[in-house]
Symmetry: C2
Subunit: 129 residues, 2 copies
Amino acid sequence: MSSKPRKSPSSPKVAEIARRSVCPVACSLDLLGDRWTLLVVRDLWLGRTRFKDFTASPERIPTNILSERLERLVAHGVAEKVPAADGSKRFGYRLTDKGKALGPILAAIRDWGLTWQPGTQALMTDGGG
Amino acid sequence: MSSKPRKSPSSPKVAEIARRSVCPVACSLDLLGDRWTLLVVRDLWLGRTRFKDFTASPERIPTNILSERLERLVAHGVAEKVPAADGSKRFGYRLTDKGKALGPILAAIRDWGLTWQPGTQALMTDGGG
């Protein structure tokens, strides 16, 4: 499990983000504010763990973007690498406590979309991957 | 006040966004998923109305980005133009019902930032602009 924010990032180059202000919304968007990052978090939330599981999602995230986002989420303690469930040498990803704490953000975005974006359908029905 | 989602967008070029899936998180991020859009919504939430008020925020949004984001928010019915409070010919912006409904998303992002991003401070103390 992750420790609280003090942990040193594992990849300083990826982890360094220049803050625009001390506003918690701005600082959070410095890390999460793009079209893809919260979709990767959504997939992690759904229990998906392996690289190929994320690329199989309907949005078809490009693999170079996925690699960068996973590395960044790990560097910032939002996700962590874990051994593959099949006992192979491969590894997967899962949310840390910091990542699980993004649940209310995902839920709020989902609810707004369901209400205000016609034709959307919640995909969050499965828990496996 | 805004009507519900059916309204035709006022600026088709800005309003057209290719959907990546029917997931409400993905569709919402198609519109909101970047470093700046939700900061403009934050400022609107704080009661700021005029272009120069937004540029005065500590993140110093570039004016070309601000113009594009305001136009996009209006095109998607999240914000609307209103006459300036001083009775001049200028205009300002305010959130529609669809925009006000983003409150829970902003609050969730703020709360996550305050908990997990060390050194952040909520700026949402004023209501004027």
